[in-house]
């Protein structure tokens, strides 16, 4: 059964995986499997594919656990990165992106749209869950916050976010880039 994140020793579980102890992978799966599947499901939006990705993630965690370095990040973060990367690769490789070079994007990017865009509705109930990111998300305008969350949580590409928000693609790209800059500065 899952216990609070603070009570589970993710690093020890990865160590035991590296040492070939299958029970540790099982414990990790019991602890994090539902949350991981939730994260993957949001990105790939297909239940069977989500299960495939979680399966592959488990095998990746198992075979690569020995290379995890506690100096370079948290064990829980490592597990989520392995899993999210598989999910993102699955959707990016599977879905054909509409090709659009930067010039086209610039042509589409109407300056006024950037200035005048006001969407005050939050698409995510982020306050309760964002933890130490809350203060920094708070500083973003709602529409920019939505861009970041649609990208990270829903795995949407620039083009998909633009369609979802009915905003010009270039504008969405600029919002995301600036929001990332603002988040980094805020979280330093």
């Amino acid at each position: 059964m899952s216990v609070p994140v603070s009570d589970f020793d993710y690093e020890a579980a990865l160590l035991a995986c590296a040492a070939g102890k299958q029970a540790a992978l099982r414990a990790l799966y019991e602890q994090e499997g539902a949350r991981l599947l939730g994260v993957v499901q949001r990105i790939v939006r297909d239940r069977a594919l989500a299960e495939d990705v979680l399966h592959d993630a488990c095998l990746n965690i198992w075979t690569r656990a020995g290379s995890f370095d506690p100096f370079r990040g948290s064990a829980r973060g490592w597990i989520y990165s392995v899993t999210r990367n598989l999910a993102l690769n699955a959707v990016r490789d599977g879905r054909r992106e509409v090709g659009m070079d930067d010039e086209m994007v610039q042509a589409l990017d109407v300056r006024e749209a950037l200035e005048a865009w006001h969407d005050t509705t939050d698409a995510f109930d982020w306050r309760a869950s964002a933890g130490r990111m809350e203060g920094c998300l708070e500083q973003l305008e709602p529409v920019r916050r939505n861009c970041i969350l649609h990208a990270y949580v829903d795995g949407l590409s620039h083009g998909e976010i633009a369609r979802r928000l009915e905003a010009p693609l270039g504008t969405v790209k600029a919002w995301i880039r600036r929001s990332l800059g603002a988040l980094r500065e805020c979280m330093e």
């Binding site: 488990c58 095998l59 690569r64 020995g66 948290s74 109930d125 949580v153």
Partner: protein, 243 residues
């Protein structure tokens, strides 16, 4: 690379979009291909992964069906049976060797190892060690041979004592790092000279904690260009409280 330079900002933006997930398939692959040989990009990606991790909590958990774990177990069995055909062993970008097993193994041997090394130290230093509260044995990853000992004898300073001579290529240097479990990033304790003791002031750091990590990595002669470990680990260990 200057932190505020256009190149640095570009690198941060690329790493951020990679972790956020907004890069297209071809761009994602290009970033992944660069990671093993581009420590600055790799460090930026890791920092973004840690920064954005809390957002994973926004996805509603979905209970996996029982059959999924059974499938994982079958696949693990297949992996064990055919290790040579293991399709998933592509090495990730941050490290090739099994650091966790290594230093945990050392920790598992526990106080016995610490006691032996304490004895070694007493012999070497030929003075009483009343203030020693922690002992860290830094061992080589390949053969677990002890290479250095870290100890705290006075507050505000730690001492790194070599147990032997280490070969370091002429264009490289050994850089000393530490990280407590609760810290978000390792802190550099400076470059050290092989074979020589080093006294490192740590008054700017929180008090040494049990389990705190120490490592020596091989870096460019003037130290890591990123402020984080970038080169291979030569010695690593965790702080053990000495009673």
């Amino acid at each position: 690379m200057n932190r505020g330079s256009p190149e640095a900002r570009e690198l941060q933006a690329l790493a951020g979009e990679y972790v956020l997930g907004t890069l297209g398939a071809a761009e994602r692959r290009r970033v992944e291909a660069r990671l093993p040989t581009d420590p600055e990009l790799a460090a930026a990606v890791r920092a973004w992964e840690e920064r954005l991790l809390p957002l994973t909590a926004l996805a509603e958990p979905v209970s996996p069906p029982d059959r999924l774990w059974q499938r994982v177990e079958r696949s693990l069995g297949a992996l064990a049976g055919f290790p040579a055909a293991m399709p998933l062993s592509r090495r990730p970008w941050w490290r090739d060797w099994n650091s966790l097993t290594l230093w945990r193994g050392l920790a598992a041997s526990g106080f016995a190892a610490a006691a032996v090394l304490a004895a070694v130290l007493v012999g070497r230093l030929a003075e009483p060690l009343p203030a020693t509260r922690f002992m860290v044995v830094l061992v080589a990853p390949e053969d677990r041979a002890p290479g250095w000992v870290v100890q705290t004898r006075t507050s505000g300073q730690i001492e790194l004592v070599p147990l032997g001579v280490v070969e370091v290529p002429a264009d490289k240097a050994l850089q000393f790092w530490t990280k407590a479990d609760s810290w978000s990033a390792p802190v550099s304790l400076g470059l050290v000279t092989p074979g020589q003791s080093a006294k490192v002031p740590v008054s700017g750091l929180p008090a040494l904690q049990p389990n705190q990590l120490f490592e020596l990595t091989l870096e460019p002669r003037t130290g890591s260009p990123t402020g984080r470990p970038t080169g291979p680990v030569r010695f690593i260990g965790r702080a053990v409280q000495v009673l």
